[in-house]
Structures are given as structure tokens and as C-alpha cells.
């Protein structure tokens, strides 16, 4: 397709990188990334992926911007309070980089809609804030054979892992199923350091770009945890679980289900 003069300038710092180059940048411009949840994790991921020139970015979120979001969801501005999050995010991405096509899905990701959306993309970023959604994204990506980056944050702790279905440990390999109701507090109950979302969401964007370009070592079979107070990163090696209900040798889950127990109670607002 060839880069325009403006694109050469815009992406010059990528092109200079030995591992990216003009061909790598063209690959990014042809890539599609879906971000599930335009909140704390999705915000930095969407900003950086937009700036990087990911050709198509999909955003799923049914929520509207709330004043309490602004402490960490940096893609939304004060003036956006009350605006659909996907719309608000779309505006910012467009403002940063007109090369990017933004597709918005103003709905919650559910068992009955997520597979057909995921199918359109090359990589998925899980920026959701509740266990049910996290398992749903994991399962959908498994069924659609799409690589994705899982992440979660609470208080001062974050974690992430990259899943390449069929090749590496999936979210269910590790956690099996959602925890009992009430056993884990939500962000709104326990609090979260705003910048933590920026750190972890940016790492997710990094994984997306590496995956799309086929460079470096992905965070597969490795859970990376981060504690902001101790400023400590830890890599935990994890093997695939042969008994995994989803990707194990005798899978029990053969279709998508909507898990219960929404953690952050968003739908009640």
C-alpha cells in the first residue's frame, strides 16, 4: 500500500526501529484491535494504539462517562461526563490520528454478541472490570482463536497475561471459574490507584503491538504481577492446565456462557 509522506513523518520513530521499519508500520496500519471496555485499562491502550497507527480499533462499552471515572480513565475528559464512553474515546482517537478507523459498540459484551465482534479483529484487549466479563472474553477468544491480553487491577496491584489460544495458558487454566460472590471487592469498594490503570493498560498495548508485528517475547505462559507500592514486578511461570475446562484435553465448556456475579455492579447504576 505504501506510506504517504505524512505517514512517513508521523511514524518515523517506528520506522527507524529495526524491529518495526516501514513494513512493520504498514502491518500495523492494516491491523485491527478490539478493546473490550473503554475504562481504566482501555483508555491508555486505546490512546497508544491509536497513536501507533493501528488501522482499526474496536471499542465495546455500554457505559457513559461518569465523574468518578476521570481519576484514571484518561481518554475521557471532564466535558465528556454523560457522553457514551465509546463515543468519547472515538473522538480522542480521531483527534490523535486520523489514520485510525474507530468502530464503536455501545453495548455490553455478552455471550450472544461477543463472538461475532471478536471475529473481525486480530487481537483483543481485555479492559473489563469484572470477572464475568473476563471469563467471557477469554472464552470468546478461545472459540474464535484470537490472541488477547488479559489484565486486572485493584488498589495498588495489577496483573496481566497474554493468551494465544491453543498455544499458551488461558485465563481459565489458571482461575477455572469466577470467585464466589462478595469474596473479592470491586474497584468502587476497594479503590484503585489511577496511574496503575495507565501502567497496566500500556503494557497491554505493548503486547498487542508485539503480537501484530511478530516481534519480541510475548507474555504467554507468564503472569506478570505488579505492585505499585513496592514498585515490584514479578513473573510467574504458568503451564497450560491439561484439565482446563475450556482448553484442556477434555473440555466441558463448548459454548459461551454469561457468568453471574458482576463485581463492580456497574449495571445497577
Amino acid at each position: 500500500m505504501g506510506l504517504s509522506e505524512q505517514q512517513i513523518e508521523r511514524y518515523s520513530r517506528h520506522i527507524i526501529l529495526e524491529e518495526v521499519g516501514g513494513q512493520g508500520q504498514e502491518k500495523l496500519l492494516e491491523s485491527k484491535v478490539l478493546i473490550v471496555g473503554a475504562g481504566g485499562l482501555g483508555a491508555p491502550a486505546a490512546l497508544y494504539l491509536g497513536a501507533a497507527g493501528i488501522g482499526t480499533i474496536g471499542l465495546i462499552d455500554a457505559d457513559k462517562v461518569d465523574l468518578t471515572n476521570l481519576q484514571r480513565q484518561v481518554i475521557h475528559h471532564t466535558a465528556d461526563v454523560g457522553v457514551e464512553k465509546v463515543k468519547s474515546a472515538e473522538n480522542k482517537i480521531n483527534a490523535i490520528n486520523p489514520d485510525v478507523t474507530v468502530k464503536t459498540y455501545h453495548q455490553w459484551a455478552k455471550a450472544d454478541n461477543i463472538r461475532e465482534i471478536v471475529r473481525e479483529y486480530d487481537f483483543v484487549i481485555d479492559g473489563t472490570d469484572n470477572f464475568a466479563a473476563k471469563f467471557l472474553v477469554n472464552d470468546a477468544c478461545w472459540f474464535e482463536k484470537k490472541a488477547y491480553s488479559h489484565a486486572g487491577i485493584l488498589r495498588f496491584d495489577g496483573q496481566l497475561i497474554t493468551v494465544v489460544p491453543g498455544q499458551s495458558t488461558c485465563y481459565r487454566c489458571i482461575f477455572g471459574s469466577p470467585p464466589p460472590v462478595g469474596s473479592v471487592p470491586s474497584c468502587s469498594q476497594a479503590g484503585v490507584l489511577g496511574v496503575l490503570a495507565g501502567v497496566i493498560g500500556s503494557l497491554q498495548a505493548t503486547e498487542a503491538i508485539k503480537y501484530l508485528l511478530g516481534i519480541g517475547d510475548l507474555l504467554t505462559n507468564t503472569l506478570l504481577t505488579y505492585n505499585a507500592l513496592k514498585m515490584q514486578f514479578r513473573r510467574v511461570n504458568i503451564k497450560r492446565n491439561p484439565d482446563c475446562k475450556l482448553c484442556g484435553s477434555e473440555p466441558e465448556i463448548t459454548e459461551l456462557i454469561d457468568e453471574e456475579q458482576p463485581v463492580c455492579d456497574l449495571e445497577k447504576d
Binding site: 512517513i8 520506522i15 529495526e18 521499519g21 516501514g22 513494513q23
Partner: protein
């Protein structure tokens, strides 16, 4: 330093730091960790140039306002003897050059110079060059006031900022003490003329002048600025230049091209904007004081001028009883021993201050009338005859003997003229100056000469002859500046007679044109000697002056053939007679085929050889369509009488001539065609194909690497990409970046104004 009564130019700390760092730079170059190319880009702004002889270097020392203390000159002389060839050269911009220094000795030279308060920093490259002043500053009878404090402070202010060494091109600043303009402020990038308005000292300001190719007289940008504001003016113009100068094209980079591009109104507006910003924010860095350096080197006069005879070499100063004594140097050269003795003489009879002048002489000022005879006899001891009634001064550039750019041997001509003027006993009646440049680059400043000569080559009877354009009518005077005009051209060998006649008969300006005609090629016999330049044992030739050198003069030679082809085609189209038609068409083919061969250093004489060379160099590489071969062959057939007519080939011949002209017009400074070649049959499966080229001249860092890399991605692994990049940062960075990314750089070649980098795609 102890010898200095008062430092003249206070070398800024940044320049001192850079000078001390230079030793390390040379070490890195010598041990191979810095490339030749990278080192060159670093060396030139330090004021160190390589000479025509490889491995010999010239150190150009800036003499601020042309003022040097005797101790400084003794040091310069000592260094020249110890490290150089023992001969110093005074330049037209008041610098002093040490020649033939080995590169490994240059750090010693620089550090030793620094000890006496001298530095070559900014002597070359795209820098703030020596800030000059009229040689009589502080003592001249005509000056409005002493301008040296302003000239020196301007240098001190600008030199402390490293950005002054990385401008789009050179920036020359000149101060003249009055409208007479002995310093040539009328043709400077920035020129100041001293004025006194209602008791206040100040300057009128002119900008965007310059000599060299497409010279221009500076235009007025300020009627009067108080003297204390000169730093702001110089800084404002520097900023304007820095922002708007065209860094992409070295040939169009000087300030005068900015003016040409945007017009005077916009230029003045931009200047005023910069001034306003400076007014508001203040100048950055240390503000030097305006020190009257000459005051420290002053002495009292004596009453009456006695019986001192005033000549061009002995001129009265404003203090009664004091005189300036001119040391007339042939072409600016003086031996180290003589310079050291001249310094001693300045101590004894002057004030210990010696000035360098724009006419490449030295001047010892403030000599008492009663000492004139003594100083004359002292100077005669070093071979300088002050009593001699001198012939008009002849100024010449270095010329083709040492300069890679030169066409003609200008110094040889200068000597021949001086000899002739001496023989004819022609006297210098004032400021009469003959100026010679060996090529259109104008280093001899022929555009401001009373009589100027610009070297070129002309084809007479099929052979090249050294020739000069004659220029007259220049004026350098505030507000009336005028460049010399071309009035004709004459063979080099007729110039001494011509000059002698002009001066002897006091030929009026309007008669000069006629006089030139009487010396041009149509009059008198042309002897074989005319084909030999002064002092040359071989017939004049441009052969060997290949690509990589500035082609300004070579261009003229090509133009001659191209015009001839065009004329012949026109003649053929009009000729009624078939024989004449055919002959003209044939002539057009020959001229077209010959025109561009100079680029390849070829000067075949016979038509057959011309055609063969054309085929090899222009048709085969695809610069000219393959069908051109048919034209050549049929032209030969006609010539040999094998065919009766080539009239039906007229359209093809026109096409050939047009293509040649098109190629000619697309030549860049390194004499490479920018025009697209025609597709060629692939040469036998050579590993490298020449067709992969990325011309990134004018593209800065890092975009040049970005684009070069994109071009490399487009070729196959194992193929070679040629990248053209600019000198300086680009050629330092682009190849290094490729290497860092695992590609192989096969060659970095200096192609004159730019560099060619050949990169093998490894992965």
C-alpha cells in the same frame, strides 16, 4: 598572554572548551574510530581545511577586526615554522593562514594559538566568520568613530553560542568606519557603516550582500541604530538566517537568497520581528563590553608632520604626527621570519599592534613621523620596500594550481600583470585594484574590482584556451554599492597588456568596452602560447577536473557546445542550400555529442572519438535514448559520403540536442545528472544494480534515515541501495544507523556538495 597589553578578541569559554576537545577528536580520527567524512565535518568549522595536497592542512586564524598584537604574530610565525611551511597568508577577510600543517600537529597549533588569545574556530564551514573592520579603525582620519570595539564585541558575543557554528551557510559581518567602505560592508551578509547623528554614535545597517556566484549588493535595513545595539542587530539577523536559510541547497543557502526568495519588505519585517523578540526577552548569554582595544595600544603624536612624504604606503593618521605604514605583500604572502621581524618592528616603532587588511597587506600604525625613515630601513631588512612607488594592487584567489575548483591559474596571471605594470611604471593613484578569480566562484572578489577578471575556458579552433571575462565599474561606497559589470572576454595571455593600457591611458569607463574588443579574440594573431595558461607546461585542459569538484566553470564549456548545437539546428532549418543544411545538421550532432564529455574528464578531438565517447558514456548507461546511436552512425555515414543526406534525421537530431540540454540543465553541483535515465537492457547479471537510488539531499535527520530505510526495504536482500545525503550530521548518522541495524555500508563517497552512501541489504 603576558605580551598582550589588552586581550584583543576575548576567546569565549565555549570556544576554549571546543579547542581542548579537538585533540581528542583528532585522536579518534587517527585511530580510526571516527570516519574521514565525519572528521571532515568536525574539522572544517574548527577552521582547518585540507589543502589540494592530500594530508596537508591549512589553519585559518581569525584576526578579529584585523587587529593583531605583535606577540600573537610572533607565535603565529613560530607555529608556521615549526609545523607548517614557513609562509603565512593574509586573506581578504583579515584572517591569517598557516599552511601545510600535518593533521596530527593541528591540536598543538590550536592550543598554542589559544595561549596568545587566537583561535581558528569558525574559520570555515557554515559559521559566523571573522567579523572584520576597516584596517584604519581607531587611527583613520576619515572614520566617524572607532568601530573596533563593536566589531570585536559582536564576534565575542556570537562566538560564545555554539549555534553560531551550525548556520545554513557562512555568515560574514563587516564594520566600516565611514561611507568609503574600505572594509566592504556593502557586499557583506551584514554590514555596518559608522555614523554620528546629533552627537550620538551609531550605524546604518545593510544586509544580504555577498560575492561568490550570483553576487549581490547588500540592502539597507536600518537607517540608524545606536552603536550599543549592534549585538541585537547581529543576533536578529543570525536568527532570521537560521530560520529561513535554505539548508537543503548549499548553493542557495546564503542570506542573499533568503532576501531574493521573500523580497525586501518581508525580509525587513522578519528582521524587525526578531529584533522585537530580542528587545523583549533580552540577549542570551554573556554580553561583552565594548572595549576600545586600540586605546591600550596608543601613543602620543608629535607636532607637525615634518617632511614625511605621504604615499600609498605611508598615510597620516588622525593624531597629528603619527603615520600608518603599509607592508605590501605579494598576494598576501609573507615568510614566517619576516612576519616575526615585522612584529618586532611594530613594537619598536609602532604600538605593538599590526593590522591585516582587506587587500591582503599588513599595516603598522601609529609610527611617529620622525621614525619613518628608521622603520623604512628596518622593513627593507625583511624585503619590504616602503619607498617603492607601487603599481596598483593585484588581488588573486589561489587559482587552479592549488585550488580544486579553479579553472585558470589566477596567481600566474596576477604575477604577469604586476610585472607588466612594473615595467610600464604604472603608479597606484589611490585604491585602484585589479582582482582575479580563477573561476566564477569569485574568491578573488572580482565583482568589486576596478578591473576584475573571471576565469573560464573557451574553445578556439577546437581547442580549449584559458580565457577571462572582464568586469569593470564596481563601486563599494555606502548606499551606492554596485557590482562590476561584464563587458567582454579576452584570452588570458592578452590581459597584462590590456590592464597596462587601461591604467596608462586612464581610459574612461565608457571606452573600456571598446578597448576590450581590441583585445578580444578577433584581433591580432593567436599564437600557440595562448593555449597554455601562465606557468603551465601543458596545453590548457579541463581533463581530470572530474566530478566531485565544483563545476561552475565546466558548465560554461558545456554551454558553448549546447548553444552551438542549437544554432546549427536553426541554421539547418533555414538553409536553402542542401549542402549547408546537411553540414549544419552534422555540426549539431558533433556539438551535442561533445557537450557533456567534459564531465567525464574527456576532451576527444576527432569526431569519431567524440561519437565513441558519447556512445560509451551517455548512450550505453541510458542517459540518451538508444536511438541516438542511429543518429551518430548516419551522421558518420554522411561524413564519409556513404549517404547523400541526413536531412530526414532533423527531428531526431533536434531531439538529441534537446536531451543533451535537458541533461545539462539537470546537472547538480557534483556534476551528476538529476534527469531520469532511460530504461536500459540489464547488464550481464551483475550482483549490484545501480538503479536503486534514494536522493535524500536536503532531508534532515532523522527523516533522511527513515526514508533511506524505507527505500532499502523496497529492494531485495543482496541488492545495493545508493543513498545521497548532505554533509554534516546526515552523513555522520545515516550510515551509522544502517550499520547499527545490521546492514552493510559498502562505501561512503564524498561527491562534492553531498555524500553518496552505498548500502548492501543484508536482511
Amino acid at each position: 598572554m603576558s605580551e598582550l597589553k589588552e586581550p584583543i578578541l576575548r576567546i569565549p569559554e565555549t570556544v576554549k572548551d571546543d579547542t581542548f576537545a579537538y585533540r581528542d577528536g583528532v585522536k579518534k580520527y587517527l585511530d580510526g574510530s571516527t570516519s574521514e567524512v565525519a572528521f571532515r565535518a568536525y574539522r572544517v568549522p574548527m577552521g582547518i581545511y585540507e589543502q589540494r595536497t592530500v594530508g596537508k592542512f591549512m589553519v585559518r586564524i581569525r584576526i578579529g577586526a584585523g587587529l593583531a598584537a605583535s606577540g600573537q604574530l610572533r607565535r603565529v610565525a613560530e607555529l608556521s615554522k615549526k609545523y607548517g611551511n614557513g609562509i603565512l597568508h593574509v586573506t581578504t577577510r583579515q584572517d591569517i593562514q598557516i599552511h601545510e600543517v600535518k593533521i596530527e600537529d593541528t591540536p598543538d597549533v590550536l592550543e598554542s594559538l589559544l595561549e596568545v588569545g587566537l583561535s581558528p574556530r569558525g574559520g570555515g564551514g557554515n559559521t559566523v566568520r571573522n567579523v572584520t573592520a576597516c584596517p584604519g579603525t581607531g587611527v583613520c582620519m576619515n572614520e566617524k568613530f572607532n568601530i573596533s570595539p563593536y566589531s570585536i564585541a559582536t564576534a565575542e558575543y556570537l562566538l560564545q553560542d555554539r549555534s553560531s557554528f551550525n548556520l545554513p551557510r557562512k555568515y560574514k559581518i563587516v564594520f566600516s568606519g565611514c561611507a568609503e567602505d574600505c572594509a566592504y560592508a556593502s557586499v557583506a551578509d551584514l554590514g555596518f557603516f559608522a555614523h554620528n547623528e546629533n552627537g550620538e554614535n551609531g550605524f546604518s545597517v545593510y544586509a544580504a550582500g555577498g560575492l561568490g556566484s550570483s553576487p549581490a549588493v547588500a540592502v539597507k535595513i536600518e537607517d540608524f541604530v545606536p552603536a550599543g545595539e549592534v549585538l541585537e542587530v547581529a543576533e536578529a539577523i543570525k536568527r532570521l538566517f537560521d530560520k529561513h536559510g535554505d539548508r537543503s541547497n548549499k548553493h542557495k543557502a546564503r542570506l542573499r537568497y533568503v532576501l531574493k526568495r521573500i523580497g525586501i519588505e518581508e525580509f525587513v519585517k522578519l528582521y524587525q520581528q526578531e529584533r522585537a523578540v530580542i528587545k523583549k526577552e533580552g540577549l542570551k548569554g554573556e554580553i561583552p563590553e565594548f572595549r576600545d582595544v586600540t586605546a591600550a595600544y596608543q601613543k602620543s603624536g608629535e607636532s607637525g608632520n615634518g617632511d614625511v612624504k605621504v604615499t600609498v604606503n605611508v598615510l597620516p593618521e588622525k593624531t597629528e604626527g603619527l603615520f600608518g605604514v603599509r607592508l605590501n605583500l605579494d598576494l598576501g604572502d609573507i615568510s614566517a621570519d619576516s612576519l616575526a621581524k615585522a612584529a618586532d618592528i611594530a613594537d619598536e616603532f609602532g604600538t605593538g599592534l599590526i593590522r591585516t587588511t582587506q587587500l591582503q597587506n599588513l599595516l603598522i600604525t601609529s609610527v611617529r613621523g620622525s621614525d619613518i625613515e628608521k622603520i623604512k630601513s628596518a622593513l627593507s631588512g625583511i624585503g619590504i620596500d616602503v619607498s617603492a612607488v607601487d603599481e596598483p594592487k593585484v588581488v588573486a584567489c589561489a587559482g587552479a594550481s592549488t585550488c580544486k575548483l579553479g579553472l585558470c591559474l589566477s596567481r600566474g596571471l596576477a604575477e604577469a600583470i604586476s610585472e607588466k605594470l612594473g615595467e610600464a611604471q604604472i603608479r597606484d593613484k589611490g585604491r585602484e585594484v585589479v582582482r582575479i578569480s580563477g573561476c566564477p566562484n569569485s574568491c578573488g572578489h572580482h565583482f568589486i574590482a576596478d578591473i576584475g577578471f573571471e576565469g573560464k575556458a573557451k574553445r578556439i579552433d577546437g581547442k580549449l584556451m584559458p580565457f577571462y571575462d572582464v568586469l569593470v565599474g564596481a563601486k563599494t561606497y555606502e548606499g551606492q554599492g554596485k557590482l562590476a559589470e561584464r563587458i567582454g572576454s579576452i584570452p588570458a595571455k592578452r590581459i597584462p597588456d590590456f590592464v597596462a593600457e587601461v591604467f596608462a591611458k586612464d581610459v574612461k569607463a565608457e571606452q573600456l568596452g571598446e578597448l576590450v574588443k581590441s583585445y578580444d579574440i578577433s584581433c591580432g594573431e593567436i599564437t600557440d602560447d595562448y593555449y597554455y595558461d601562465y606557468g603551465a607546461s601543458e596545453a590548457f585542459s579541463l581533463a581530470g577536473r572530474g566530478p566531485g569538484e565544483c563545476g561552475a566553470g565546466v558548465m560554461d564549456v558545456m554551454r558553448v557546445d549546447i548553444d552551438e548545437a542549437r544554432r546549427a539546428i536553426k541554421t539547418a532549418s533555414r538553409a536553402a542550400d542542401s549542402g549547408k543544411k546537411n553540414q549544419s545538421l552534422y555540426n549539431a550532432v558533433v556539438a551535442s555529442a561533445r557537450a557533456l564529455l567534459v564531465i567525464y574528464g574527456l576532451e576527444p578531438k576527432k569526431d569519431r572519438e567524440i561519437f565513441a565517447a558519447f556512445t560509451e558514456n551517455l548512450i550505453e548507461p541510458g542517459w540518451v535514448k538508444a536511438s541516438g546511436q542511429k543518429v551518430l552512425e548516419q551522421a558518420v555515414d554522411w561524413r564519409m559520403g556513404d549517404t547523400d543526406s541526413i536531412e530526414e534525421l532533423a527531428p531526431e537530431i533536434s531531439e538529441l540536442a534537446e536531451r543533451v540540454e535537458e541533461l545539462f540543465l539537470s546537472l547538480d553541483a557534483s556534476l551528476k545528472f538529476k534527469a531520469e535515465p532511460f530504461a536500459q537492457k540489464k547488464e550481464s547479471a551483475g550482483a549490484e544494480s545501480k538503479s536503486h537510488l534514494a536522493d535524500l539531499r536536503g532531508v534532515g535527520c532523522p527523516m533522511n534515515f527513515v526514508k533511506a530505510k524505507l527505500a532499502l526495504e523496497k529492494i531485495e536482500v543482496g541488492e545495493v541501495l545508493e543513498v545521497l545525503v548532505d554533509d554534516g550530521e546526515p552523513v555522520r548518522n545515516v550510515p551509522a544507523s544502517f550499520v547499527a541495524q545490521g546492514q552493510e555500508v559498502l562505501e561512503i563517497k564524498n561527491a562534492g556538495e553531498h555524500f553518496s552512501v552505498r548500502v548492501l541489504r543484508k536482511k
